[in-house]
Symmetry: C2
Subunit: 354 residues, 2 copies
């Protein structure tokens, strides 16, 4: 605490990202990174702009990348907003598109950055409980609010809300922006981007960190009505003119150009997820149905924190949230076949020692 | 305007960055980029991490880069804060370290992003007039305020405030954070980082966009007392955990490792600036004394906007600010010898046509 911190800083409860361990040889299944590297075309594209051109500012509007994303989703570039990771996109949404004076609604179990943004921008937060099966209940989003946000599939549960139920939430909130945070949608969901031309209150966010294997490049985006995008542009241009560097712009554009690699790797992750699910069930774990690149699991007889601790001692890192309702759960990223086998081999040993 | 924009967005007046023209063969002297490319070691370092590791998140704390900057300036890594360009660093400072309820003070002629940040974070702004010679007057910063910020050298004037006068401002404001924005300091100034251990209210910001030739990579930083840095970390970790991508972290670190290239190129820019100044004076221009990589000039007989327009028609782009006191001035980036000659050759033709 410093006397120079203003009230805003004093009141913050910052987000804690998943650990990025420095050790080699760890089986790192804690931050939902893709087990595959990015497309070779991404590497080649970045190499192609890796020269003395770095002395020049990037395109502040990222027009070429916006066109590539627009083409992929059959929307216009004016419906696409870019950010330095989808976290930055989300921050700008909270700051500019959620109405103050009424609470932002989101699930009680969800991405834990949402309440942090509320704290940063002086917004009240009200959580809507998931049902017994950890599913989002659209009925809970029929109360007065200043905006709605939920991930689909949800995190850290992995559970998918069908598009028809997303529409229920949109229709219940015609005067508020409804944000569908689709960080994981490519691993088994259907994107609500298909609905943006019918709902002017819908904003969909996505990231290249997961299905495009580019967590290290920091690129995210939002798609929605061009008036919403224009509002985000106003915030962005009042914050940082050039959020994406020249290398990230080129690499991200190449990622959208290589559709074949994208399809191949996401299908491989889905297939691995299904194998991992069976393996965990065989060890007695309850596994929530996942449409993401991770599984949210608990063992009916063994303490969640103890399992996480035991795995760590054996060099396998998974994520644990010390929070109500989910403190017995482990969130396990789907890794390579070898990583997943390491996990499945370690678990019986860990359980034996408990 | 959209009904979904909240009051914050409606009230914004976003910043307008200098144009990034798409045309080839332009003599681009409008955004103060370095005429030299980055160090070859920067390119090599980025190549060295340009692989499947991009699937992994970067180090959220950028520890290795912080150490490199700390070593360069003989401070500790806990005294260094990183951001996605110094614009992001400045935004976090305005949000977290300037006290609300009292105005932020900055010069009347200065970096035009400062009032934009005030608008974004609901801060009042009060400007302190430069003196007749366009110099910052420390006496103007003795009034009640919620924080002080000024560039040194100032932009777009290029004028340098001696460190003794920076200290006057620091001593006059012991209970407020004083930010010295040193984007251009390497081209002729003495950094106030030398003072951070003596003034716990001092925060110095710098960028790799200018003297390190990395505008396209988006890396900036702040140096100050570790309590100030901790406050900025709280804001950053409530906004975006990973503002710098893996390539930017590696490239920036390599830039600090190659001190020889840095010294060579900044001296070359300074030498070119001196030649350009003489050339402009020979054409009748008044040139403000510059410690930056640009010159702020006016012709006593010819309209500033007209000169800018005429140069543009001849493929030379310089920056013009349509603002009180400076609307007759041109801000001209120091380019390569060839670019500077193109400018000096074009100007007499432009003047003839006016």
């Amino acid at each position: 605490m410093s006397r120079f911190w203003n009230d805003r800083v004093r009141g913050l409860t910052p987000y804690t990202p998943g650990e990025q361990p420095k050790l080699e040889n760890l089986v790192k299944l804690n931050t939902n990174e893709n087990p595959f590297g990015p497309s070779p075309q991404v590497i080649a594209a970045i190499k192609g702009v890796l020269d003395e051109g770095l002395r020049l500012y990037p395109d502040p509007d990222g027009q070429s990348l916006r066109r590539a994303i627009a083409d992929w989703y059959q929307v216009t570039p004016q419906q696409v907003f870019l950010g330095n990771g989808s976290d930055e996109v989300l921050a700008h949404i909270f700051q500019g598109l959620f109405q103050t004076g009424q609470p932002v609604l989101f699930p009680d179990i969800t991405y834990s950055f949402y309440p942090v943004y509320c704290g940063l921008y002086g917004l009240e937060a009200v959580t809507v409980p998931l049902d017994e099966g950890f599913r989002i209940d659209p009925a809970g989003f029929r109360q007065a609010n200043g905006g709605v946000i939920f991930p689909n599939p949800n995190a850290p549960t992995g559970c998918l809300l069908p598009l028809a139920q997303v529409e229920e939430i949109l229709q219940a909130n015609p005067h508020r922006v409804v944000v569908v945070d689709e960080a994981y949608v490519d691993f088994g969901g259907e994107s609500a981007i298909a609905l943006v031309d019918r709902y002017d209150n819908l904003l969909v966010t996505q990231t290249l960190s997961k299905s495009r294997s580019l967590a290290g490049l920091r690129v995210g985006f939002a798609v929605g009505h061009e008036d919403l995008i224009a509002g985000l542009e106003r915030v962005k241009n009042s914050f940082n003119s050039y959020p994406l560097d020249r290398l990230a712009l080129a690499g991200a554009e190449a990622a959208f150009a290589d559709g074949e690699y994208f399809q191949y790797t996401r299908n491989a992750v889905i297939a691995e997820r299904e194998k991992l699910e069976l393996g965990l069930q065989a060890l007695g774990f309850n596994v929530l149905p996942s449409a993401a690149n991770f599984l949210f699991v608990r063992h009916p007889e063994h303490d969640g924190a103890g399992l996480v601790q035991g795995l760590r001692q054996r060099g396998v890192i998974v994520r644990h949230f010390n929070k109500p309702r989910i403190d017995q759960y482990l969130r396990i990223t789907v890794g390579t076949p070898e990583q997943n086998i390491s996990l499945l081999d370690a678990l019986p040993l860990v359980i034996n020692e408990m």
